[in-house]
Structure formats: C-alpha cells, structure tokens
Amino acid sequence: MYQDFLPIIIFIVLAAVLIGVPLGLQHLLSPRKNKGGDKLISYECGELPEGSAWVKFNIRFYVIALVFLIFDVEIVFLFPWAVVFQDLGLLAFIEAFIFVLILLVGYVYVWAKGDLDWVKMNVRYGKGRYANLQSKGETS
C-alpha cells in the first residue's frame, strides 16, 4: 500500500530539486561584489517604482469586492446547473430558484443598508470613541 505513495515521494524530491538547483546555480554564478544600489529596487518590468507599495486602500473596495465575490460564486454554481438543466427537470429548477432567492435576500440587505453607495449618506458611528464624528453626507 505504501507503494501507492511513490508518486508523492517523487513529487517531493522533484520539488526540492527544482528549487535547490536554480538557487545553488545562482549562488555559484552570481557576482558577489555589486551589492546595494539599483539591485535593491523592486523589479517592475524595467520601470522605476513610484512611491511605496504600502498604502492604505479604502475599505469600500473591500466591501464591494466581497459582494462581487458572492455573486461570482453564484454564477459558478449556476453554470453546471444550466448545462444539465433539461435532464434534471422541474425540481432542479425550484432548487436553483430557492438558491438564487436566498442570495437575493443578501443583495436586498446590502442594498438597503447602503453598502453599495460609494458615498455613504448616513453613517452611524456608534457609542465608542467615534461617537462625536459626523459623516460628510449628514446635514444635521
């Protein structure tokens, strides 16, 4: 039975060799003197990098991406269903309908809570240390 695992051993050995050989080669061949300077600049296909990559992204991108991901996955599920739809009949149609309906509830929720608005009109800041902040959209 252990022989069944032989391919896995071969893969492990191959992986070690494939990483070890190039690393060893570059260790042997690379010039040692030229350190620092342009070598330490991150490689951007020949362009000189502008500014730092460590910038804060707006959290709104995150929310939109998350919502997008859910509906993206929904499509992934619906494609195989659509391919065999005719063989499965009415029951499969109802099942897919319920599936989409549940996702729709989530969509309605996100929409009604204003998470799809790029400029938020009413933001609550809760009780804590942000209690005195006011969003720009609020008039009062």
């Binding site: 039975m1 509830v105 989530g106 309605v108 929720y109 809570k113 809760g126 009780k127 804590g128 209690a131």
Partner: protein, 488 residues
Amino acid sequence: MSNLSSLSFYIPELIIIIAILLVIVLDVIPVCKKYTFPLSLGAILLASVFLWQSYGESHGLFMGMISIDPFSHFFKMIFLLSTFSIILISRYEKQLDSNYSAEYNALLLIVLLGMFLMSSSINLIMIYLSIELVSIPSYILAGMLKNDKESNEASLKYVIFGSFASGLMLFGLSILYGITGSTDIGVVTAALQAIEYPLSIYFPLILILVGFGYKISMVPFHFWTPDVYEGAPTPITAFLSVAPKAAGFAILIRVFYTMFTLEGSVSATLPLTNINWPTLIAVASAVTMTLGNLLAVQQEDVKRLLAYSTISHVGFMLMAFAIISPDAVRAIMLYLFIYLFMNLSAFYMAIFASNKLNAHHINDWDGLSRKNPVLCAFMALTLISLTGLPPTAGFVGKFYIFAELFKHQQFYWLAVVAILNSVVSLYYYFKIIKSMYLVDVEGEVNKIEAHPVVNWSIILFSAQNILFFIYWEPLIGFIEKSINLWSG
C-alpha cells in the same frame, strides 16, 4: 432518502432557515424592525415543538448527507434551549448596540442552524461545512462591539485560529478521503477496518482531532478561548462556552465512534486495531484540565476565569471520551446537559454584574451579597455545582464520569489527576464566593435589582443545579434512549 422526501423530516431546520431570511428582510424595512426579536424567539419555539414531535425517528436524509436520530435530537434540544435563552437575555445586555440586534439575532440563528447540521452530519464534506457554518458567524458575533478594542481583538484572534484549525482538519479529511475513496462515513468506516497500517490512519485522525479540539477548546488548541471569551460581548461568551462546545462533542462522538472503533457504532467498546487513540485523548484530557485549572487560579477577570474553567470542564468530559463504551457516552451527555445550566447561570450573573455595576474584575464583586442577596445565593449554588460538590448537579455529572473511569480500570492515573484538579478548582470558584460574601464594603450599601428577565434566567438556570441533584432519574433515562445513532 431522496432530496424531496427528506424535506418532511427536516422541518425544524427549515423553520430556522426561513426565520433567518425573514429576520434579515424585516431588518431593512423600518416599520417591521421591531418584530425581528419576537420572530427569532417564535421560530425557535416552533422548531422545538416540531423537534419534540419527531423525537425517536431515525433516518438518513439528502442522499446520505445528514441523519436524524435520537442522538442528534438530544443535542438539538440543548442548542435550542441555549440559543433561546441567549437571544432573550441579549436584549437586556447594556453593552450591545440595539441598532444591530436584528443582525445579531440572525447570526445566532445561523449558528443554531450550523450546530443542527453539526450534530447530524454523516458525510465528511457536510462535517466540514457545518463546522464552518458555526465558526464564521461566531467570528462576527465575537466582534459585535464595533468600537471596543478587545472585542475586535477577540474577533481577529478567533478568525486566525479558527481558519488555521479548520484548514488542518480539512487536510485530515482529504487524506481520509484519499485512503478510503469515499466521503460517506459509513463507507469510510468499512474501508478503514481493512487497512493494517496504523500510521496512515493516525495522521488524519490527529488532524481531524485538531479541528474538533479547537471547537471544544481542548489543550493545545485552546489559545483562542480566554481572549475571545474576555473580549466578546458577555452573552456571546456564554453562548460560545456552551452550545458550540456541545456541538463539538456531538460531532466528536459521532465521528470517532463510527470511524475509529472496531465495531463502528456507538455501542463500540474497542478502538480500531493498532490505533490507540483513547490514550491520546486521555493525555489530552489530563493536560486540558490541569492547564485550565492552573491558569484559572491566576485570573482576576471574572469572564477570563470562567473561560479557563470551561477549558477544565472540557478536560473532564474528554476523560469519559477516552473510555470507549456506551455508558461513557451517556456520562458525557449527562455532564453536557448539566454543564449547560451551570455555565449559563454563571455567565448571566456576570452579565448582571457588568450591567449594573460595570464589574469585570473579581474585586468589583466585593460585597455583592449585600446588594442582591437572592442572586448571590443562586450564584454560590452555581459555583458549588461547577466545583462538583455534593448538594448540586455538578456532583452527579462528575460522579458518572468517575464511575465510568473506575469501571473501565484502564486510566487510574487520569482519575487521580482529575481529583487533584477538582481541589484546585475549589480555590478559584470560592474566590468569587469569598468576594461576594466575606469581603466587607464600607459605607451605605444600596440594593440593586436585576431586570426581571435577567433575574429569572439566573434563578431558573441555577435552580436546575439542585433539581438534577435530587431527581436525575428521568434525565438519565432520556439520555439512555437518546444514545442511538443512525447507521446505513
């Protein structure tokens, strides 16, 4: 059973699913927002009625994905009871933002649904999915106090730990699928009986134990427990310390008794040939309770202290799990049931103290018995029960576990460790009693009344500790009827 005909045995879960969707929809309609709370409670009540009616039935549903049997029904009753009580009491918890109460209730209902599936899944994929369905809403619930730093920390730590543990478990499940070629645990069981290399079974077994051990906070997968329990809103702490742990034990018993025993059923008495997992569990149990108790001794924060105490209680339950026999399963189930009442009442008392006195530290509880003598008397009863001293139900639970341990005659050393641990636990539980009763506070003392719901929750849950000490006969009879797993 096919999908359509399964639905008629799936009514409690369907009620919960519809309630979840309705709560989410009603939340966004301003007029209906106030109905989400009664709706959640009503759905749980309705689900329990249907669950009670179908007790005793035993079927495999959805083409071998989940099963309903008396065993899962017993655990589902625990889940319904604890979720109902938590949703009820959360309304009177001051910390929580009432604007998010609909989301809060919906998330609790989703966890409830996940636990329902956890206690009845019989397929490796379903096991993984149900554990995730419990975990992911729990991460959000732990971080429910948006502007509280500790709550955010709790949530983040929980996510990182949880995803790592479930990743390891998924790895174990995939190896199990690799060596047996099926995800149905009935087929896996049959295939495992034929394998004679213990090494290839040990590996997935330990990885799966990581996933389950994290859910029940078994040492060494307990690191999230104190931080999450301290940071999360107190009702959620109470919830996490009872319901998902019960679900973890349900799935642990189902998976280990069917897959890793020689007989492949809950009536098993021997582990799989060459696989000595009971010793593994026994060592884990000894370490769990010792570490939980020793660290609890140093705690000054009440919630943190109770968190470590739950770890040590898990150690006690694992002790019975190390003995493979139907009677040991009975002891675990009895202990879980009693543990539900004592732990919830202790945490409700913490809710009362933090609501009215903003008390988190043990010193803040000083002289509480003069401020509210009734609740403090019941809290003392709960703490005695948690210790496991005689006139309480905790003693009955511990008695059954020790009785199994001595009957089995294999782990005498474990019994010695457990008895020593009981002595240690006496110290830190009585630290709270000492603070409530023996420390004098100077000056005028005002009486503090709890909100009636909180008040009666503490009294009702705490009173069970005396009830089940006097009269546990029907309970043990009911549990005996419930040790009945559906198999193929």
